[in-house]
């Protein structure tokens, strides 16, 4: 196994482009090192991107948007009060992952690139409209988060490509987001269903919405029918029921050790309603 700690993303990209066998980028290592220790994946090339300048930075840009370094940890996000005020749902989703110890290492980028449909931060990023900057042999490109995962453990990133930044849109006025997941316990578990809702209001009426579902299909889903079900409404009971129905209809889950098809399909609707109510209250400024 070859271990590298490049000083720039261009160098990281070049190392990956020229590597043979299995390559893994190492940020927090909360997936990569666990897989290595349990003999699931033994990389031939390990490229540690934590030592590149600025990868821990959380920056609010002039236009109100945010740029996060790829090694910014869950703990650093949770401790950043302004980020939490703008995007409470996204920060809470990240904060649900693992233990306190894991939070000191785990990153949004790692959670995305691990390719798990049950990743907690990914539905929240998709609902928020987050994009990632991808550095590759031919330069940088910007990709929507929903276009990164292509299946369990798989992403659309090509050989030699590495995520070099996370771009979170400006919150803007009258907006709110929320993420809820179902686990049978109270913490330290993996989502059986995850739902993120991000919306904007004009008065009491929802004018924009994005709804994303996790752990109910081979990839995290962005469900337009869910958004349509609540846009133009004041989130009345009929809209909530339509939202739940759309969420359940979008599910394409499996039966496995963590849950059943029937359970996931049903609970996706239940959580969609509950998350939408939280996001709505946040948009109204009624709930932190």
């Amino acid at each position: 196994m070859n271990y590298h700690s490049p000083a720039s993303f261009a160098e990281a990209s070049a190392l990956a482009a020229n590597a043979t066998g299995i390559t893994r980028f190492l940020a927090g290592g909360t997936d990569v090192l666990v897989q290595l220790r349990s003999d699931v994946v033994t990389p031939d090339t390990l490229i540690d991107i934590k030592k590149i300048d600025g990868v821990h930075d959380i920056t609010r840009n002039a236009d109100g948007s945010w740029t996060l370094g790829v090694a910014a940890t869950g703990a650093e996000m949770t401790e950043h009060a302004d980020l939490g005020r703008d995007w409470p749902g996204l920060v809470e989703a990240m904060d649900l992952i693992g233990s306190t110890q894991v939070q000191g290492r785990a990153t949004l980028t790692g959670n995305l690139c691990n390719g798990s449909p049950a990743a907690d931060s990914v539905p929240a990023m998709i609902a928020a409209g987050v994009t990632v900057t991808v550095t590759g042999p031919s330069g940088d490109r910007e990709v929507a988060v929903e276009d990164v995962p292509t299946g369990p453990g798989k992403t659309s990133l090509a050989k030699g490509e590495v995520i070099s930044a996370i771009n979170i849109p400006a919150r803007g006025e009258n907006g709110g987001d929320a993420y809820l997941r179902f686990i049978p316990r109270t913490e330290m578990d993996i989502a059986v269903v995850g739902v993120a809702v991000n919306l904007r209001l004009d008065g009491d009426i929802i004018t924009e919405a994005r709804v994303s579902l996790g752990a109910v299909a081979p990839t995290v889903l962005l469900v337009e029918d869910c958004a349509k079900a609540i846009i133009g409404s004041a989130l009345d009971d009929a809209a909530l029921d339509a939202l739940a129905a759309a969420a359940s209809a979008a599910c394409n889950p499996i039966d496995d050790k963590r849950g059943t098809i029937a359970f996931r399909t049903e609970v996706a609707g239940v959580l969609a309603k509950r998350a939408a109510k939280i996001a709505y209250a946040r948009a109204k400024g009624e709930q932190a």
């Binding site: 003999d39 179902f182 913490e187 059943t260």
Partner: protein
């Protein structure tokens, strides 16, 4: 065993001092199984079957042996030729077959070969060089399917004498007991409920994985350090499996990070010794969590049918149950225990119970706190709850009406001596929890539970030092604060402060055979032996005082740590403190020690009653336990804090078993969830504060009245929680765990 020297007034017993091992444990100084190293030490690793059932056609270890870091490779051929016998008579063969597969791999995770290498990583990598050719065979992991006529046969000839003719060869032991005429009893009933219940296998979930360091020379002399609940059984078993003399192997028990019954046998210890003998170097093996789940003993899973008849006034007129337990690919599932415990809390005229021990392609079950009893209680107490509901009766009153007491003929045969079940039920009824209002969506459940406590072979020594302090050597690993309890009991007899007594878990070379720390026996049996050993030392102290005063020893008694004349006629002497006697004991007759060994038979039986409130989210089926109260008879609580700890621990593990813990097997017979992420043991935030009430109805078989408390606490929770959840959800839950998908499906069926 009746005792005439009972004590009921105490100075030290019943207080709550800090535990003697506390500082070591909180500072990391305590040495657990994996904390021991030796010069020249190698690391062992074990290759495990990926198949649930397969014939081992060939094992080629040549590539592993050729690896530069590998110093030894062992397979079954490197162990002794232990004779096969049916049932539990052949337990050494069963353990050997489990420790290292013979002709067949019998479950996913079954050990087939092992290597010792110069590093743990090299050992792990070397396993990949071992080539095993398997012929995959049909498998079965479900208890009912394993009994069906077309089930694959795990092993012909494993059944013992108890199994009736015509049963499938996978049924290896059979139990039937009871009294009265159940058919006549059912005819008297106003309401009969008959239902079937299922529980899944759960793991003890101890945080410390199995770990050991073994050294065995070609002279047949060995040393073993391991995490275990019983180092004498480890000594005896390892010696048998390796073909050496028992006394030539010295075993030292490490500190133990939880056992709960699962560390009462051996898994890696004989393998480390076999590797060491071959490599002529010490070998350390530490299991991964996945190995612990796949290859060490979970509980049995169970399928049960229970039928109970009740009169309108709540009297149980008849009860019968059939309990089928699978315990993996070996005899030992405690179907007999389940059957005997199921109805034991009740005074029944007509009762009949049948238990089956069934083999399947799963790991060899191991004891887990009151093995077999929680499942039976789940089935029986669920049916009683349903009867109470249908007849409009209070569940505590019905249990009080039927409760066993002193003189009751137990469902499994003998008559009870003094027991405390009624007292736990009365305490439950009087507890504010029982009448506290419930919120919408919440339900309350209660259950009683019974367990046989155990005595077992016990040997304890006590040695006094010149300064008047004492060393106490016990042979039962401290799994629940027993060093504190032993020191309190010794302090009570000697009359010296608790802090002046150092309690050590002696190795196998220091004391005679001590049975395992199981059967809730340690505070009872090692405690009894500690009291007797201390009294033995007191006799000698009195002799020295008598000699000094020149009066007969009968004229000296021991009081508050001093020898005193037994009365005015004995003479007028100032009390002689213990330290004054020990100060010159070398000149007055030599060292003063006390010793006691026996197999005490007066452990008695144990009962508890639990009250649980549960809240069910009707939209997701998720349960939270909102309030929990454990009430149990401890006889006499020596160190009440550790008694409460045992009560709380039993409830916590019961909550996990009831709600989310389960062994999940795929169609391929492989375990799907061999990590703590997917084997859902409760985390701290899942649990409410678990309230405790210690009832003290002294055990007539112990000088201070002690009853063991370690196991009974896990008997009522499955049933009590199932009753609470069923009452909250409005639908009877008959399968454990009551995971959210199962509850949501039951709610839909009920409403649909």
């Amino acid at each position: 065993m009746a005792l005439d020297d009972r004590k009921s007034e105490f100075t030290f017993v019943g207080t709550r001092p800090d535990r003697p091992d506390g500082l070591d444990k909180v500072t990391g100084r305590a040495k657990f199984g994996a904390d021991m190293s030796a010069p020249g030490m190698l690391h062992g690793a074990i290759l495990r079957s990926p198949h649930a059932h397969a014939r081992i056609v060939k094992i080629d270890t040549s590539k592993a042996e050729a690896h530069k870091d590998v110093k030894a490779v062992v397979t079954r051929a490197d162990f002794a030729d232990v004779p096969f016998k049916p049932g539990l008579e052949g337990e050494f063969w069963n353990v050997l077959e489990n420790v290292m597969a013979g002709e067949k791999a019998l479950y996913d995770g079954h050990a087939v070969a092992a290597v010792a290498a110069s590093s743990a990583l090299a050992a792990r990598d070397a396993l990949k060089l071992i080539e095993v050719e398997y012929e995959v065979l049909p498998h079965v992991t479900d208890v009912d399917k394993a009994m069906a006529p077309d089930a694959p046969v795990i092993r012909e000839g494993a059944a013992d004498y108890s199994v009736p003719e015509g049963m499938h060869p996978n049924v290896v032991r059979y139990h039937e007991s009871g009294h009265g005429d159940v058919e006549a009893g059912f005819a008297e009933a106003d309401l009969i409920i008959e239902d079937s219940f299922v529980t899944e296998a759960t793991h003890q979930g101890y945080i410390e994985p199995h770990a050991c360091l073994g050294m065995l020379g070609n002279d047949g002399k060995g040393e073993l350090w391991c995490t275990t609940q019983g180092h004498w059984i480890a000594q005896k078993t390892c010696a048998a499996l390796l073909g050496i003399e028992t006394s030539q192997l010295r075993v030292t028990a490490s500190e133990i990070g939880g056992g709960f019954g699962g560390k009462t046998t051996v898994f890696i210890e004989p393998v480390a010794l076999a590797l060491s003998r071959k490599a002529n170097r010490p070998v350390k093996i530490v299991m991964t969590r996945s190995e612990v789940f796949r290859a060490t003993g979970p509980t049995a899973s169970a399928s049960m049918d229970v039928k109970i008849g009740m009169k309108k006034d709540g009297t149980i007129s008849a009860a019968q149950g059939v309990f089928r337990l699978q315990g993996g690919a070996f005899p030992g599932a405690p179907g007999d225990m389940t059957a005997m415990c199921a109805f034991a809390p009740y005074n029944l005229t007509n009762v009949k119970q049948i238990g089956y021990d069934v083999m399947s392609n799963r790991p060899k079950q191991a004891a887990y706190r009151a093995p077999g009893a929680p499942m039976g209680a789940f089935a029986v107490e669920s049916v009683i709850d349903e009867l109470c509901k249908k007849l409009g009766l209070d569940p505590v009153d019905v249990r009080l009406k039927n409760a066993a007491h002193e003189g009751t003929k137990a469902s499994y045969g003998p008559r009870y001596e003094r027991i405390g079940l009624v007292e736990t039920l009365e305490a439950a009824k009087a507890h504010p929890h029982y009448t506290a209002p419930l919120k919408p969506g919440q339900g309350r459940g209660i259950s009683c539970g019974f367990w046989f406590n155990h005595g077992g072979e016990t040997s304890v020594s006590l040695a006094l030092s010149e300064d008047g302090s004492a060393q106490l050597m016990v042979g039962t690993p401290d799994i629940g604060g027993s060093r504190a309890s032993m020191a309190l009991m010794a302090a009570e007899v000697l009359g010296i402060p608790y802090e002046n007594i150092r309690v050590t878990i002696a190795d196998t070379a220091t004391l005679g055979y001590n049975d395992v720390s199981h059967g809730s026996r340690v505070t009872y049996a090692s405690g009894l032996a500690t009291i007797k050993a201390a009294k033995h030392a007191v006799e000698k102290l009195c002799e020295r005082a008598a000699a000094k005063w020149d009066i007969p020893v009968e004229a000296v008694k021991w009081e508050n740590g001093c020898a005193v004349p037994s009365g005015p006629n004995a003479g007028d002497f100032d009390p002689m403190p213990l330290a004054d006697i020990t100060a010159d004991m070398g000149r007055t007759g030599g060292p003063i020690s006390g010793h006691f060994e026996a197999t005490p038979e007066g452990a008695g039986v144990s009962f508890g009653t639990h009250i649980v409130d549960a809240e069910v989210d009707p939209e997701t089926g998720k349960t939270s336990i909102t309030r929990y109260t454990v009430i149990q008879d401890a006889g006499k609580a020596i160190h009440p804090t550790y008694v409460e700890g045992q009560f709380q621990g039993g409830a916590a593990q019961g909550i996990g078993w009831a709600l989310n813990e389960e062994y999940i097997y795929g169609e391929d017979g492989r375990l799907q969830n061999s990590i703590f992420l997917d084997y859902r043991i409760p985390v701290a935030s899942d649990l409410p504060m678990i309230d405790t009430v210690i009832v003290e109805v002294p055990n007539p078989g112990h000088p201070f009245g002690v009853r063991g408390v370690g196991e009974t606490g896990i008997v009522p929770p499955l049933a009590a929680i199932a009753n609470a959840v069923s009452n909250a959800a409005g639908v009877r839950m008959k399968q454990l765990p009551m995971s959210p998908p199962r509850i949501l499906a039951a709610l839909k069926d009920n409403n649909g």
